[in-house]
Structures are given as structure tokens and as C-alpha cells.
């Protein structure tokens, strides 16, 4: 065991003493987290241009010429492609015959999962309430708006819906022949998911992504570089002439690598929590498991690249080529829902997407496009398996002759 611990120690000490490694392992993620938080910390809205919105009309009984039907038709109109116009702001999901409780339940599930930005409900009796308000009575004109605090896009969609309601309001007043002394329609907001009346700070959105990015670069560049440069410089060959064998070396290497990831995570989490006021926690067992799974997946990915590379320089070139697409096509820094199909194919093959999705979900920060929960664990496990098989068959531990 002492050999494994000493190998782990050597790996850690080397990484910390090497300036380039230190920069990419620790300084760069901290720098990126700081810059992103400072720049986007005040902006809680993503620049999303298309939403998925649900409409549940519980007042279907009031007929097709009711105010309820008017609200529905205006929203339907807005969701239609307009001639010579850009893509509509939202896609409207609705039941053909109003909305049954089961439809609303299904849509609420979709909202919680992040598949809907908001749900607007026209309550039963809405038409009658408007008529009553024209007559000077009634109990108030309230639509119900369900929003998910866990999704940043939800707030943007709600804001647009409120503007739309203001327009509908004017339309109703005109139809009623009244211009004042009448109640306006208000949207009664119902929060779904997170604690109510609490905005999601940007740091909470970006912190899991930066943690994962750190693990990713550790795996992609740290593992690949260490293995291949040590092989090319014949450092490994020096080990093989001693009783140390490949499994023991790997155990020491993995231990050191995971310790470095833990160190990196501790630093980023401390910075996020104590400097930028992150509210999310990582103490949940599932979250801790996903962090470990992420570190191991990316470490395995480093072994995969090492296995298919003849030299250290070739390995680093492959890592560089994969780095940007894998990071950016994972939803780390922007939503991936609106990407073209060919890019989505990369997203769905990318283990980073799944790990990020799982991690954000486990800390209560959902991303725009979601995968089934079990895939956030199964796909990375699949990558670990593939990498392990390829590495065990292809990885050379000494210089080719």
C-alpha cells in the first residue's frame, strides 16, 4: 500500500509544482468562475429566443366566443409562424378540448423537468368573471401562471406572457366597450420546483459547470499528458524494472488524480460559496456520487486518448481537438436546446452533457434540455467501460521499438 500512496503523492506534488498544470488545474477554473460570475452575475436571464409554453383552458365550457377562447386564440396566433417573420417566440402545447387534470399534471411534470418554460391556466369560470367585472362585480380576474424557478428560461417566458396578457387585457376592454373602472386580468404566479420567491443566482447556475469543466480538463489534459509524457520520457520504464506493476501504478495514479480533483473542487466551492454567495450545496450523496463519477469518467477518457495516441504530442493534439466541442456542446455555458440536429447528435454522445445534467439536477439547478435521470449515470458508466476496454487493449506502457 505504501507504494500506491507514494505514487499518489508524487502525482499530486508534481502537478502542484508544475506551473502549466497548476494553471489549468486550479488557476484557470478559478479565474473563469470569477470572470463569468462578475460579468453575468447581474443577469439572471439566458438569451433564449424560443420557449415551450403550455396552455390549459379549464373554462372550455364557456364556448368558442368566450373571453377564455379569445385568450387561447391570441396565444395560438402568437405561436404560429408569421409570414416574413422570425421564428415564433414560443411553441404552444395545449389539449384539443381544454385541459383535463391529467393533462395539467403531465405538463407540470414537464415544467419540473425543464421541458416547459411556463404553463398558463385559464381557470373555470374565467369568462363569467369578466362579464361580472363589466357589470361592476366579480371576484377578480386571475389567470394562473405556473413557473419553474429552477429554470432561468421560465422567468423570461413569464415576462413575455405578462406582456401578452396586457395586450389581451386591452382587447377585452375594447370588446366590452369599457376603457376604465374595470379590473385588469392579472396572472397569479404559482412556483413549481424550488423554494418560492427566490431568484436563482447566476453563480448557482455556473458553479456546477465550472466544477465539471475543471474535472474535464484534468482528465483530458492532466491524465493524457502525465501518462504519455511519462511514457515518452521513460519514467514509466523506470517503474517497471521495480516490483511496481501496472495495476499498482494505476491505483496510485487514480488516487492522486482524485485527490487533485477534490482539491480543485474544494477551492471552487469555497470561492463560489464564500465569495460569490452560491446557495447550492454538494453534500447530497447523489451529488457526491456524481462528482466522483465525473472525475472517474474524465480520467477514463484521458486513458482512452492515451491508448489511441502514439506519442505525447499526438495525445495532446487529440485532447485539444476534443476539448472545445465537448465542453461547449454540453450546455456548460449556454443552453443546448436550440442547436441544429447534427450538433445535438454530438450533445447526446457527449458524456459531459449527461454528467452536467445530472449534477445540475442533483443540486437543484436544472438546465434547459434534460435527459432521463438514469442516463446521466448510465451514459458516463458506458464511457468508462468503453475507455477501460480500449485502454486495456491498446495502451502501451513503454516506448515502441
Amino acid at each position: 500500500m505504501k507504494d500506491i500512496l507514494q505514487l499518489a503523492r508524487a502525482h499530486i506534488v508534481t502537478a502542484i509544482r508544475e506551473r502549466v498544470t497548476l494553471f489549468w488545474f486550479l488557476i484557470f477554473p478559478v479565474f473563469l468562475l470569477t470572470v463569468l460570475t462578475l460579468i453575468f452575475g447581474q443577469v439572471n436571464q439566458e438569451p433564449t429566443i424560443h420557449f415551450e409554453i403550455s396552455l390549459v383552458n379549464e373554462d372550455i365550457a364557456s364556448g368558442t366566443d368566450s373571453f377564455s377562447a379569445l385568450v387561447e386564440s391570441i396565444l395560438v396566433q402568437m405561436s404560429m409562424p408569421q409570414p416574413n417573420a422570425e421564428t415564433p417566440l414560443f411553441t404552444l402545447h395545449r389539449a384539443l378540448h381544454g385541459g383535463s387534470p391529467s393533462f395539467l399534471e403531465a405538463e407540470l411534470t414537464a415544467l419540473r423537468r425543464g421541458d416547459r418554460a411556463a404553463i398558463l391556466v385559464i381557470p373555470e369560470g374565467f369568462h363569467q368573471d369578466i362579464l361580472a367585472s363589466f357589470a361592476g362585480g366579480g371576484a377578480g380576474l386571475a389567470l394562473r401562471l405556473y413557473m419553474s424557478e429552477a429554470s432561468i428560461t421560465s422567468e423570461t417566458a413569464a415576462s413575455i406572457l405578462e406582456q401578452t396578457l396586457a395586450g389581451i387585457n386591452r382587447e377585452i376592454l375594447v370588446r366590452g366597450g369599457m376603457y376604465d373602472d374595470t379590473e385588469s386580468i392579472e396572472a397569479e404566479t404559482v412556483w413549481v420546483g424550488q423554494a418560492e420567491d427566490q431568484e436563482l443566482p447566476y453563480i448557482d447556475f455556473v458553479l456546477p459547470a465550472i466544477v465539471l469543466m475543471g474535472f474535464f480538463t484534468n482528465g483530458l489534459f492532466g491524465v493524457t499528458g502525465t501518462i504519455l509524457f511519462n511514457r515518452d520520457r521513460k519514467v514509466l520504464q523506470r517503474y517497471w524494472v521495480t516490483p511496481v506493476n501496472v495495476p499498482r501504478y494505476l491505483a496510485g495514479f487514480a488516487l492522486g488524480h482524485l485527490a487533485l480533483c477534490a482539491l480543485q473542487f474544494g477551492l471552487l466551492f469555497s470561492l463560489g460559496k464564500f465569495v460569490f454567495g452560491a446557495t447550492i450545496g454538494f453534500g447530497d450523496p447523489l451529488t457526491l456520487f456524481l462528482l466522483l463519477l465525473s472525475a472517474v469518467t474524465f480520467m477514463a477518457f484521458g486513458f482512452f486518448i492515451s491508448a489511441v495516441s502514439k506519442t505525447a504530442n499526438a495525445g495532446m493534439a487529440i485532447a485539444n481537438i476534443l476539448n472545445m466541442p465537448m465542453m461547449f456542446l454540453s450546455g456548460m455555458f449556454f443552453p443546448i436546446a436550440g442547436l441544429p440536429a447534427f450538433m445535438l447528435a454530438i450533445v447526446y454522445a457527449n458524456p459531459v452533457s449527461y454528467l452536467l445534467e445530472g449534477l445540475r439536477r442533483s443540486v437543484g439547478v436544472q438546465a434547459g434540455t434534460l435527459m432521463p435521470a438514469q442516463l446521466t449515470i448510465l451514459v458516463p458508466l458506458g464511457w468508462i467501460l468503453v475507455s477501460a476496454v480500449v485502454a486495456s487493449r491498446k495502451l502501451r506502457w513503454d516506448v515502441e521499438r
Partner: protein
């Protein structure tokens, strides 16, 4: 006589190339056994098989009394290996490297003892990347000796070092020999083999072409004495008048080597010839045959070719 290592019919092929072609030898316990040969002779491949880096295609190895087809992990507990060009983590310190290698073995000497043996006490806290070539090589020797091995492999330990650093390495090897360690050394430096070896085994093109003590091998060439000098614009025709008074004349560029059984007669005629032809000798030297001459005699080539 006991043997720390016995090798029988060892073979290693790379495609059609027979890097090691069925060699056999015995290394007596507590001796320095040197494999001498030019680059590409198969020395390093032989050592790599004995060190467990490569598996032999055929042959048998008996190491410290145990027969094996390939070197086992248990055997490595008693071996020390200095690779020809193995590297170290450049950011680790000398002491950390020795501690790391000590952790690989069941039994290890105190790091301070190793630092003393390789004279690196003052550099214990220095990072590997700051060491000179000689210091790095001494540290590598230290790493090879952390387990106080019975059998030590040194693969060209002084290649690329300056004369002082080379002498320091020789001192360490002599110290190990005095402690009763068995050393298997490879080198292409003739003087190194002569200075350190009890037994020299000369390899060329994957085969052993001669074996014995340096004195025995040199004696095998006969009783001749060698006269060596440098001469400008020299060729076989120029020196033809001297052929009658010597056994053989070799010319390598401006370097001339005359083998003779009658030194006085040959020297006398050589000086007369120089007087008559007004030739000027440079670096005139009279010496006995050495291992370089043995190799030259056996292969027609020098060790450095």
C-alpha cells in the same frame, strides 16, 4: 564458483532482425561482468530481458538460484536496475525520488545511506530538473540501489558524461564491488570495461564473439606490441617500406597502427624511414593490445563504428 545469473540460449527478435541471437553466459557472484559492444550489438536488449522489461522469445534465465522464463516480481525485489536513458519526474526532489523508489520494495535502505553512497547529500532537497547530467546519473544509481540489491544492472552508466562525472560513477561501481554486489554492466567504452570488469563478454550483431577477463582477451591476440601515431597524407603505398619489419599495418584516416613482434627493430626502421622521407609523426605511442584491439581483430571494425 557460484553464479548470481546464468543465461542460456537467449533469443529476442524484432521482425526479421535477431537483436539477440541465442547467447549464453554465466555471471559469477560478487563480480563485475561487462558486456562490451558497439551500438546495435544487442547489449541493451539483453539487459532489458534480464531486467524484465521485455520477454525473451526463447532461452532460459537463472537469477539468484531461481530458473525463470521471464523475470518475476519477486525476483525484482533483489534486483537493482539503471536504465540507459530512463527519466524521472523533473519536479520531484532527489529525496522524494529515493523515497518513492524505496516504497516499491519490501526491504529498503535508509534514504540518507543512499544519498551518502552516491554523494548527493547536498542535493537532497534539489529538484531533479536542476541537477547536472552527472548528478542525475548518480541519483538514478541511487534509485537503483534503494533495495540494497544482490544483483545490479548498469546499462551504459557513463554514456554522455564528462570525464570527471564518469570517474565518479566508476568510484560508485568499485564501492559496490567491494561490498560484494554482483554487477552486470554494458558499455561501449573500452577503457571502462578494462578498468572495472572481472569478466568481459564481447557482443556483436546479437552474438557473443569473445568472453574472458580483459587480460585473457588481450593476451589472445599474441605477443605483439603496438606502435600508434598520426601522420598527414598517409596511405598504404606510403608505408610500404615498413611492411618487412612488422606483422601488420592498419591505417584509419591519418591514424596509423603498427603491430610488431620486435619493437626495437621496427622502431629503428620507422625512425630511419621518417628521416629519409622527412615525415613528421604526431602523438607517437607504444602500447600493449587492449579490448578495442581485440574487437578490431575479431570484427575488422572499431567499437565506435
Amino acid at each position: 564458483m557460484t553464479y548470481a545469473l546464468q543465461v542460456k540460449d537467449l533469443v529476442k527478435r524484432y521482425g526479421d532482425v535477431h537483436a539477440v541471437d541465442g547467447i549464453s553466459f554465466d555471471v559469477p557472484t560478487a563480480s563485475v561482468f561487462t558486456i562490451l559492444g558497439p551500438n546495435g550489438a544487442g547489449k541493451t536488449t539483453t539487459l532489458e530481458m534480464l531486467e524484465g522489461i521485455r520477454e525473451p522469445d526463447a532461452g532460459e534465465i537463472t537469477m539468484l538460484g531461481k530458473r525463470m522464463l521471464k523475470v518475476s516480481r519477486a525476483a525484482k525485489q533483489h534486483m537493482g536496475v539503471l536504465l540507459q536513458d530512463g527519466g524521472f519526474e523533473p519536479h520531484l526532489k532527489v529525496r522524494e525520488i529515493l523515497q518513492l523508489f524505496s516504497s516499491f520494495f519490501d526491504r529498503a535502505l535508509p534514504v540518507s545511506d543512499i544519498l551518502h553512497l552516491v554523494a548527493l547529500e547536498e542535493k537532497a532537497a534539489a529538484r531533479v530538473k536542476t541537477l547536472s547530467g552527472g548528478q542525475k546519473q548518480r541519483m538514478a544509481i541511487g534509485a537503483a540501489l534503494v533495495n540494497d540489491p544482490d544483483l545490479v544492472f548498469f546499462d551504459e552508466p557513463t554514456t554522455g558524461l564528462d570525464p570527471q562525472a564518469r570517474r565518479n560513477i566508476w568510484d560508485i561501481l568499485s564501492e559496490l564491488k567491494s561490498r560484494g554486489k554482483t554487477i552486470l554492466l554494458t558499455t561501449h567504452y573500452m577503457e571502462e570495461a578494462e578498468a572495472l570488469s572481472d569478466v568481459v563478454c564481447i557482443m556483436d550483431q546479437g552474438k557473443i564473439i569473445a568472453q574472458g577477463s580483459p587480460r585473457e582477451l588481450a593476451a589472445g591476440l599474441g605477443e605483439e606490441t603496438l606502435i600508434e601515431f598520426r601522420l598527414d597524407d598517409v596511405d598504404a603505398q606510403t608505408l610500404q617500406p615498413l611492411e618487412s619489419c612488422c606483422k601488420r599495418i592498419r591505417i584509419d584516416a591519418s591514424q596509423v597502427l603498427i603491430e610488431t613482434l620486435d619493437l626495437r627493430e621496427t622502431m629503428s626502421q620507422l625512425l630511419d624511414w621518417a628521416e629519409k622521407t622527412s615525415k613528421d609523426f604526431h602523438d607517437l605511442r607504444v602500447r600493449q593490445p587492449n579490448l578495442e584491439d581485440v574487437f578490431l581483430s575479431l570484427t575488422g571494425r572499431t567499437l565506435r563504428e
